[in-house]
Amino acid sequence: MNRTGEHQGNTTGERREGLEEPVSSLQPLSFAPEKPGSSHADEHVSSLPPVSLDLEGISIEFPGVLACDRVSLAIRRGEIHALVGENGAGKSTLMHCAAGILRPTSGTIRVDGTPVRFTSPQDAQAAGIAMVFQNFLLVERLSVLDNVLLGSGSLPPLLERVKLAAGIEPVCKRLGIELDWCRPVESLSAGEKQKVALVRALYRKARILILDEPTAVLTPDESDRLLETMRRLAADGVSILFVSHKLPEIRSVADVITVMHRGRAVASSLPARGISAEAVASLMVGGDQASAPISAPASASASPSQSQSQSQSQSQSPSQSQSQSQSPSTSLSTSPPPPSSPPLRLDSVTLRAGGHDRLLSLSLSLRSGELVGIAGVSGNGQRELVSVCAGIVQPTSGSVSVGGSDLTGRSPRDFFEAGLCYVSEDRYNEASAAQLSLADSICLKWYRSLRGALPGSLDTAAVTRTAGRILESFNVRHSGPAAPTASLSGGNLQKLILGRELSHEPAVLIVHQPTQGLDLASTEFVYQALRQQAARGTAILLVSSDLDEVLALSDRLLVMYRGRFVGEFPRCEFDRLRVGSLMAGLVGEAAP
């Protein structure tokens, strides 16, 4: 399997070199039959719809990095083509290239057989290609209508908004979508924003749609509806290229799969229905599918440094979590009643900010060694919740206590000194800062105890020593403690941050989106570290919009929706479907 991919990579590479100058019109003919036949597919040979987007031998080089290495990919008319791979495998770069945002260093892009050269996204739009970004790239303060209209080539100089809105209605009808044109986009949920982005793409008469992780921020129900919309569009003749990490949804919606690993396409256009999730997962991590070990569930005692070897088992956990095959918990929900002073306790915490209620009467109590997960679609108050818990933001009413002492209204420093550590979701701007040196990032909280001889002075030698110790014990790959924090990859930075917080031996640890944007190995490292820390008796609050992650790690789970806890489940009662519908606000406000 892997060999096939390698082989194909090589052949396309040779082709590229051989056919750089000659007449290009021959090329699609010459190897159109090769593509589908490359591995399994025997059923497509004749009567295939024509290729609408053909990327051939695309290489994209950034200073010092070869992000895409001679990748070839063909999407047929009405086909749903899944692109999978780890973070940093080059998927986004490839898609940006197809959407005209980046120019390839070498290689050819053809639309309906005609070679094209995009110098801007508008060129790609003119060719019928539109991209829906993971973060949607909408202008938050502008209205839904303005976002759809923005940049559209046919827009008149004077905007008659009522008339223009009527012109978009047919697109919405076709998608079965209803939108309130006047609302500012910032007030929409992620699912609604995505609809706006889709309508925007189709309003421009896009025939080739590129979707970057379209379901990443959706509730299970919203995801299902999106997949349905995708099928309908494909039936209409729209070609769809989409990136996803979620193998079940890929298998349910995609016709073919292309797998990328380290900038190369290790498997192209595999038929989606014939392949097992394990095989894809193994290709994604660059392993050999045949020998991929189905390893035992990770145990709580495994040390973080072993994570590398664990990564493959982890790759499957998202798809398996429904079956709850992994049981990492150390304490069961039937553990003894909470002691008199819980490590972290929230009492009817309410937060109002910017004229809106962000948190509504939240109460929560953590026990030592307990890992409590908060599930929810992001933007439902999670950020506010962790900020209040860590003392970053003061609640409007209610109280927060750490280790039994009421710290409401106190500074983040008091929370820290009471034994609370917090790993913020914003690694480059809050939990550390891009321009700080690694040593300074590590000593963000240690600096107070690293006193020099003179009053008020800082022992700078101790700063470097502490930094070196933590960098080493948490296996951070770095280029010296004086290097800027920006030089670390997301995974290594997260190791640094987690390492720093754990080095303070916290009684309470709050982690927010701990694995967002991390590759499998780093993700597994984080999971191991969290499990280990819980086993040591630290109370952990895990807030994440990745439902699989919360289900896999938590001893107890709460669902957050519009600033409230709308459901609570002990581990033995985890029910993915019920949690999913609570996340979407479908079930009424069930009393926790």
Binding site: T105, A390, P412, R413, Y422, Q435, C443, R448, S457, T460
Partner: protein, 364 residues
């Protein structure tokens, strides 16, 4: 073929010092062109500046160092604020108020005949505190309400100027002239010419003790910035306020403290100027030291040693420009040079390559 701009991953020493130097050279060239446009012979003007600012013997150097004193102090004031990413552009106003307070102590508060070792420290404290108060106001407004300190600190310059005028023209006016009476001799800062009795060569040298104070404060600035926990907090706050707050640093308090210290340093500069140089309070005693200091701090990249050096160079310009008319020349030269050096900064962080055809820009 097109130009590709990409971040420089490694900044070599050549680039780090070469780029600002190139910016400086280009700025001087551009300024020369501007001067010629206004009908002022540029080479003559430059020579006059160099002669009276630097090469004109002991007197020139003494004058230049005298002017460098308030520049160093205000430069440190600006650098401290800028390091915290607080744009204190009102050092001029803080300098005015420092001068005002020192004057008040010298001519209105202390009885005549107070010995210098009491009077001068009292004036210094008063000058520092007045400047600190004037700096703390924008700091407090920024910390408490999030009001832009750029605008408030600048507005307060105009307020301070009118405040001083009230005293210069009215309350402390010397027989109706637009100045106060001379300070009592005891409260003048000691200066080199005081040594003339034992060393005749020192006669007429105006350099005063404030210069030594400025150098000591530059050293203290270095220590505080790089070797103290407060300095660490300042650094983190300047890079990211959110990170500092996250780490439990008292961000709001530090904003007020930094603005107050910054104002205090500028106030001290004002005190030095009135007790060391003019020995009275009058209008226009400062040729915009507080504004030039912004330039000093930026050109020196907020480094205290470089602040001393840049202050010396710029004060040569200020001293030299006194000799040539019209008076705006110094300001224009400063502006053009700053603009060019800021532009040259781009070259230290990025490099420009000529490429055939490639990915459009840096990684997303």
């Amino acid at each position: 073929m097109r130009l590709l701009v990409e971040p420089r991953l490694v900044q070599s020493r050549v680039v780090r010092f070469g780029a600002p130097a190139a910016g400086l050279a280009f700025g001087l060239l551009l300024s020369a062109i501007m001067l010629e446009l206004f009908g002022i012979p540029a080479p003559a003007a430059y020579l006059a500046i160099i002669e009276s600012g630097f090469t004109g013997g002991l007197f020139a150097i003494s004058d230049t160092l005298t002017v460098a004193t308030p520049l160093i102090l205000c430069g440190l004031a600006c650098a401290l604020a800028f390091k915290t990413r607080l744009w204190n552009v009102g050092a001029e106003g803080q300098l005015f108020l420092g001068a005002w307070a020192a004057t008040g102590v010298a001519i209105a508060l202390l009885p005549a005949g107070t010995p210098g070792f009491i009077a001068i420290p009292c004036m210094a404290v008063a000058g520092f505190l007045a400047g600190a108060a004037w700096g703390a106001v924008p700091g407090f407004l920024r910390a408490r309400f999030g009001t832009s300190e750029i605008l408030t600190s600048l507005m307060l310059v105009y307020v301070a100027a009118h405040w001083n005028n009230y005293f210069i023209y009215s309350v402390w006016s010397d027989r109706g002239f637009q100045m106060t009476r001379l300070f009592p001799r005891e409260s003048w800062l000691p200066r080199l010419s005081d040594l003339a009795s034992s060393w005749p060569g020192a006669a007429g040298l105006t350099l005063h003790a404030g210069f030594v104070v400025a150098l000591l404060l530059a050293a203290l600035f270095w220590f505080v910035m790089f070797k103290t926990r407060f300095g660490f907090e300042i650094k983190v706050t300047g890079i990211s306020e959110r990170t500092a707050h996250y780490a439990g640093m008292p961000v709001r308090r530090n904003i007020v403290v930094v603005m107050a210290l910054s104002g205090g340093l500028a106030g001290l500069a004002g005190m030095c100027e009135v007790t060391g140089v003019v020995h009275r309070l009058q209008e226009n005693f400062s040729p915009g030291y507080g504004f030039t200091a912004i330039l000093v701090a930026w050109l020196a990249r907020l480094n205290p040693a470089a602040i001393v050096l840049v202050s010396f160079l710029l004060s040569g310009l200020l001293v030299g420009a006194r000799e040539i008319q019209p008076s705006g020349i110094a300001m224009m030269l400063q502006g053009i040079v700053l603009t060019c050096v800021v532009a040259a900064d781009f070259l230290t962080g990025n490099r420009i390559r000529i490429v055939k055809d490639a990915a459009r820009t840096e990684a997303p």
